[in-house]
Every structure is written in C-alpha cells, then in structure tokens.
C-alpha cells in the first residue's frame, strides 16, 4: 500500500514537471516576439488582408489555423525569401520530422530535396493534407511518362486511375522500392482474391498467390488483356507454363526444370550455341540465373524481355561506366555526344552475350569497325589514322579513334576526349611541340 502511494506520488510529480515545461514552452513561443496578448496571426492579417480569403479553404495548415505565422516567418528580418525563419527546404523539418525513415529503401526525390511545397500548400488548400492538387493530377503533373501511359493503355488498372496512393507512399518506403506501401504480392492480394477458383484457372492452377505478380502484369495498365506486359515470352502467352516449370500438381510446381542457360537452351539452342562458341562469354550467363540476370522469363515492359532499359540492365553491374556515360551526357562541352553514349545504348558497340573480342566488342576493332558504323573515320581529319599507322607511343598499337577518344565517354572532358585539352592530346605523340 505504501509502495503504491509512493508510485502515485512519483507519477504526479513527473506530470507536474512535464506540465511546467510545456507551459513555459508555450509561454516562450508567445513571448518570442513580445506580441500583444491575442495578437499572433491576427496582427499579420491586418496587412495581409487577401490572405483571409485563403484561410477559408477546407484544409488549413495547423500553425496557420492557430495564427502561428511566426512559426515559419520572422516578422522583422530574415536572410531567406518570404521572411522565412530558415531555408525553405528545411523549414518543414522543424515540425515534420522523420518524414523519411532512416535507411529507407526508396525516397521521393522532392522529399529528399525538401521541396515540400511542390505538393503541399504551406497555408491552406481545398485538398486533404493541404495538397496543392487533388487525386492523381498532383503526381501525374511531374510523372508525365506514366500519365501518358495510363491514358493510352487499352486495359486499365482500376486502383491506378483512382489514386496513386493506393499503392505508393508519397514520401518514402522503408523497406521497398518504388515507394511501395507493401510488397508484391501482399499489395495485390488485398484486392485480388487468390482463393477464387477462377484465379487458379487463369494461372493454370499454379500457386502464384505467393509469386511476384509484376513478373507478368504491368500494374499501370497495358494494351494486352489482364494487363500483362507488352512483350510476353511465348510459353507464357500460350499458357505453357510447364515448358519451363514443374507440373502444377507436382511437389514444387514453381521450380524450373533446369537452371541457368540450360533451361533456355531448350528453345533457344541455336542462339546459345553461337553464344558459347565465342572466345568470351559474358560472365553472368555462366551463373545459376544465366539469362535471367538480364531478361525476364515471363513478360516485360522492354523489348527482348529485358528487365529494364539497356542502360539500367548494364548499369546493375557496370555502374562505374554508366556514371561516366551520365557525366558525359550532362557535360555542356559535349553537345554532339556520340549517339549510343547519349542514349545509353551499350549494345550498339558491345555484344551483351559473347564476343571474340576484348570488352565484348561487337567487331574486331573497337575503332575502325565499330565507330565506322556511324562515323567515316577516313574523312574525320587530315590526321593519319588507320591500321597501318603505328602509334608512336607503342609499336603494338595503331592510331585509331580511341587513341584520342574514349568510347564510353570521359565525363567532364570535351568531345569524349581522353585528354583535357587539344594540346594535351597532340603532345602525347608530337613531343617536339610540347612547351617546356
């Protein structure tokens, strides 16, 4: 009994201390600018009269509603525009902390940049969460590619047309990519009843309820029925799942009959034979996933069932080269950047499966044979170039395109040059012209 009394007293003391702190905090806020009692926002509105109309909106930002204009603005002076208390990209942080979880898997670029006002009106709006626009209009204003696609596709996905937020979190996703609220298939089965017999029949009685739905279906809609991706692997289109997988009624129906390249060679034998007859086979083809390192087995948005754009697929491993390509692309000194580099079309010059030549080059000479597809190097300049012109720096090399240029881009250097300046390029060989 005595112990309980002690505990109660302790709790009361704690509450009392907390209350004192809260009151003093409130008092200090009120006293921040020594405002007259009850002045607060009303004082501001004496001058900012048109703002009164804004405050009639259905949704008003809480500090605005409470007249706490000084929560964001300094009434006297500020180094920031609109007399903001701090930089506009950080001002929301002062109250809205932890909008992005630590180590979030995916984050909305605008949130990371602190560009909250792109989506939210800091004062008031007619939309929930003081959003500047309602529904999908807000998202699709920026995500124009998606907007066009959603509009154009023949078969639409209902939740997409209703609200992007049905599937995506607008700020960040702690554990998932693409700002997804839940992982696939959990997200999908919230609407799609997998215990429905029709669902089983449509999927050839394979237990796909635990599979990744987006390995076949395009969640944003498609021109194909059941919103299957545009490029469909023939066995999937023909519903011949057992061509690659164990039978639906077997113990492990989703297991593939073979692993890696062996699985694909059942149908693509000729292509695989050619691939493996070359001197150099791209290493990912040799591992257990084989072709699936780059291709989707079921269906894909990209042609040739690629898991993404060529740049994305190659960049999964060769991020260093893609960084170089990107730096070259955004370099203002490179207005006439080589088109395959600009487009990130690595397969213009490289054979992605195998090759007889270095760096999986499509042809024997990276310069003469490959660059020549677009550039007539014989008319490039009066400088002697060709297989018979020996590089003065190295008798085993010819003077060719890559004597001066770098095929995948060179970041900040102009014209994909290997060197910073024209002079530096020339004096590599013409040493007599070097200024000492």
């Amino acid at each position: 009994m005595k112990l309980n009394l002690m505990r109660m007293r302790l709790a009361l003391m704690s509450l009392l201390i907390m209350s004192v702190f809260m009151i003093s905090a409130q008092a200090s806020d009120d006293l921040k600018f020594r405002l007259k009692p009850g002045a607060k926002g009303e004082l501001c509105l004496k001058c900012h009269e048109p703002f009164k109309e804004k405050l009639k909106a259905a949704f008003v930002h809480t500090p605005v509603k409470n007249g706490e204009c000084s929560g964001c603005h300094n009434p006297h002076t500020s180094a920031q525009g609109k007399l903001l208390d701090t930089v506009s990209t950080r001002i929301c942080d002062s109250c809205h902390k932890n909008m992005v979880p630590d180590n979030a898997r995916s984050m909305h670029k605008l949130v990371v940049e602190g560009n909250c006002v792109q989506c939210h009106d800091p004062h008031a709006s007619g939309n929930k969460a003081v959003l500047v626009k309602g529904g999908n209009e807000l998202c699709l204003d920026c995500h124009k590619d998606t907007a066009e696609k959603i509009k154009a596709v023949r078969f639409k996905h209902k939740p997409v047309n209703e609200n992007c937020m049905n599937c995506h979190n607008p700020h960040a996703s702690e554990k998932l990519g693409f700002l997804l609220k839940e992982d696939v298939p959990a997200l999908c089965v919230k609407c799609h009843k997998t215990d429905n017999p029709a669902f089983g029949r449509q999927h050839m009685n394979y237990p796909v309820a635990v599979s990744r739905c987006n390995s076949c279906h395009d969640s944003h809609g498609s021109n194909r029925p059941v919103i299957i991706f545009e490029d469909v692997h023939a066995p999937v289109a023909e519903k011949k799942c057992s061509q690659c997988h164990e039978e639906a009624g077997s113990q492990s129906p989703l297991a593939t009959k073979k692993k890696g390249v062996e699985l694909c060679s059942g149908c693509h034998k000729d292509m695989i034979d050619v691939t493996f007859s070359k001197n150099r086979v791209h290493s990912p083809l040799l591992d257990k996933d084989g072709c699936l390192n780059c291709h989707n087995a079921h269906a894909a948005r990209q042609k040739k069932l690629l898991t993404g754009t060529v740049l994305y697929v190659c960049g999964k491993c060769h991020s260093d080269t893609v960084e170089l390509q990107h730096a070259s692309k955004i370099n203002p000194k490179n207005p006439g950047l080589c088109k395959p580099v600009k487009d990130g079309d690595c397969v213009s010059c490289h054979s992605p499966h195998s090759s007889d030549y270095m760096l999986l080059a499509e042809k024997p000479s990276m310069s003469f044979d490959i660059c020549n597809k677009c550039h007539d190097w014989k008319t490039h300049s009066t400088h002697p170039v060709g297989e018979k012109i020996i590089d003065p720096r190295n008798k085993n090399l010819s003077v060719d395109c890559i004597s001066c240029h770098r095929a995948c881009g060179t970041g900040n250097k102009p014209a994909m040059s290997q060197f910073e300046t024209v002079t530096e390029t020339c004096i590599q060989c013409h040493k007599e012209l070097e200024r000492r």
Partner: protein, 301 residues
C-alpha cells in the same frame, strides 16, 4: 601532476603518431621495363595473363592464342620464347605451382590446362568428387604453396578447394549478398580472398573456415571495377582496377594503402590491365591488356 600529464601526452603521441604518419602513405614503386614482343619481335596482342616467380615470367598472350616465357635476371629479360599449346586456344589466366608447372585458364573452354615447366601440355585439370551441385563454371583459380587448387565456380557461387591431383577437399560458398565475384587468391597465411567487382569489395575466409566475411567495405569511391587480385609475401593485397586502369593496394586488415599507375599509353601507365603477379623480390608484373604489352614495376620498400 605535471609529470603525469607529460607522460599521458607522450603515450598518446607514441600511440597515434605512427598511425597518422603511415596509414595514408602511398605505395612507392618504379617502372622497370616493358615487354612488347617475343624473341622474333612479334608484338603482343591483348595479353590478359601473367605469372611470375623470382626467375621467370609467363605471359598469356591472349589474342595471339599463345604463351611467352621470359627469364628475368637482375632486371634483364631474356627474349620471350613462344609456347603454342593447341589444347589452350584462348588463355586468359596463368599461374605457377610450387613445382614450376604452369596452369592456364582457357577462357573459351573454361577449363584449366596443366603445362610442364617447359610449356608442354600435360592434361586438363579434371575436378573429381565435387558434391552436389556437380555443375561448375570456372571464372578463375589460385594455387597455394602446397599446390592445392582453389577454383572459383561462378555457376554454383563457391570456391572449390582441390588437392594437387584435382580431388575435392572442401568448398566455401560465396558470401550472402555478393555482387559479382571475379577472382580468388590465397594469402601467405592460407586465408582465401575473394574479389567482388560490382561492389568493389574483398571478402576473406580464414584457413579452414567455411564462410566468407567482408575484409573491406565497398570501395566504389576508390576504384571503378576491380577484376583481379593477388597478394605478396608480406600480406599486401593488390587489386587490378580494370576499368580504372590502375592497381590499388590494401593491407591485410583491408585498409587502403595506395595506388599504382593510372590510365595512359606511355611506359609505366596502364590501359585496361588484367592479371598481375608479384614475386618475393617485389617485382610486379602486369598484363597491360589494351596497351598490348606487359609492364614490370619494382616496389620500393
């Protein structure tokens, strides 16, 4: 009191000064010579493999589909004798074992060929007794001082340890979450080291251990795409940064020690190097692949 403070200061100075003085030190080296051609003055073409010991160097002259053997004495090379092995059509990697036998990986067949010290073909390495899965794809290999062979199997994601005759002894699976493992080596203590090209990371498994753990963090900021690694008899680890055209050196503890060479055409500079080796004299031999030559450097201790 004052004496105690001085003692503390001195102790701290002794403890911390050497770390700051040497931890960021660069690797000191000098270019010694460059190999451009064989004894008949035929030029090298995209050589990818080099093996070396104190007396000789063997070069896998890849695009010429041959080997060249050089003797190295007092920084002087004898002319390179050509070795053509019809059974090895596309040599991409070479190693010596302790008996001086030559082991070469044929990139096209993905098989390891055994050659006598003179270069005669004596057979392919035929791994036996490998537990399920029996399939394997050889990307690289290493031979330790006891002539055990460590095969980098990228099909099943493991390092298979074979005895000198090719019989299975053990295997260690690749670590979870790896990017792409390009190379394997064994240091002087018997630790197995793995190189992850995509993550620019090195993993290690102590001698006899059955799991790999990270030796370094991802080193993407220091290097672009390392594809080959080797160690010296002091335990330093050399990573050939192929896309970065340089050699990065890290310590036994994974600390970054420095860089050797950089992209270029002049002697001493590299262009998409492949394999490298280092002997006990501190001579570093590099297959300077896109410059179609082999370069020899000397580490300055």
């Amino acid at each position: 009191m004052r004496g105690a403070l001085i003692n503390i200061f001195l102790t701290a100075a002794v403890l911390f000064f050497p770390v700051s003085a040497f931890s960021a030190g660069t690797v000191k080296y000098m270019h010694v010579l460059t190999i451009y051609s064989d004894e008949k003055d035929m030029g090298l073409k995209n050589p990818e493999g080099v093996a070396c010991n104190e007396e000789r160097i063997i070069v896998a002259d890849t695009a010429n589909q041959r080997f060249l053997q050089f003797k190295l004495e007092d920084r002087t090379l004898t002319a390179g004798a050509e070795i053509i092995v019809p059974q090895v059509t596309y040599p991409v990697l070479v190693k010596f074992n302790a008996k001086g036998e030559i082991f070469a990986l044929d990139g096209k067949q993905r098989r390891i060929a055994r050659l006598s010290p003179e270069g005669s073909f004596t057979g392919y390495l035929e791994p036996s007794g490998i537990p399920s899965p029996a399939s394997y794809a050889i990307k690289s290999f290493e031979i330790d001082k006891d002539n055990n062979i460590y095969v980098l199997d990228i099909y099943s994601g493991r390092v298979i340890v074979l005895n000198p005759d090719g019989a299975y002894r053990a295997h260690v699976n690749f670590p979870a979450g790896y990017g792409f493992i390009s190379d394997v080596t064994v240091d002087f203590k018997g630790n197995i080291l793995l190189l992850d090209s995509v993550k620019s990371m090195v993993y290690t498994a102590a001698k006899g251990a059955d799991v790999f753990s990270p030796l370094t963090e991802g080193m993407k900021e220091q290097m672009r795409f390392p594809t080959s690694l080797t160690t010296d008899d002091r335990g330093r680890i050399y990573l050939v940064d192929r896309n970065g055209s340089r050699i990065m050196v890290i310590g036994q503890d994974g600390s970054f020690l420095g860089q050797m060479s950089e992209l270029g055409w002049k002697e001493g500079l590299l262009n998409y190097p492949s394999q490298m080796c280092v002997n006990s004299k501190g001579e570093v031999v590099v297959a300077d692949t896109n410059n179609s030559r082999v370069q020899i450097f000397k580490l300055i201790k």
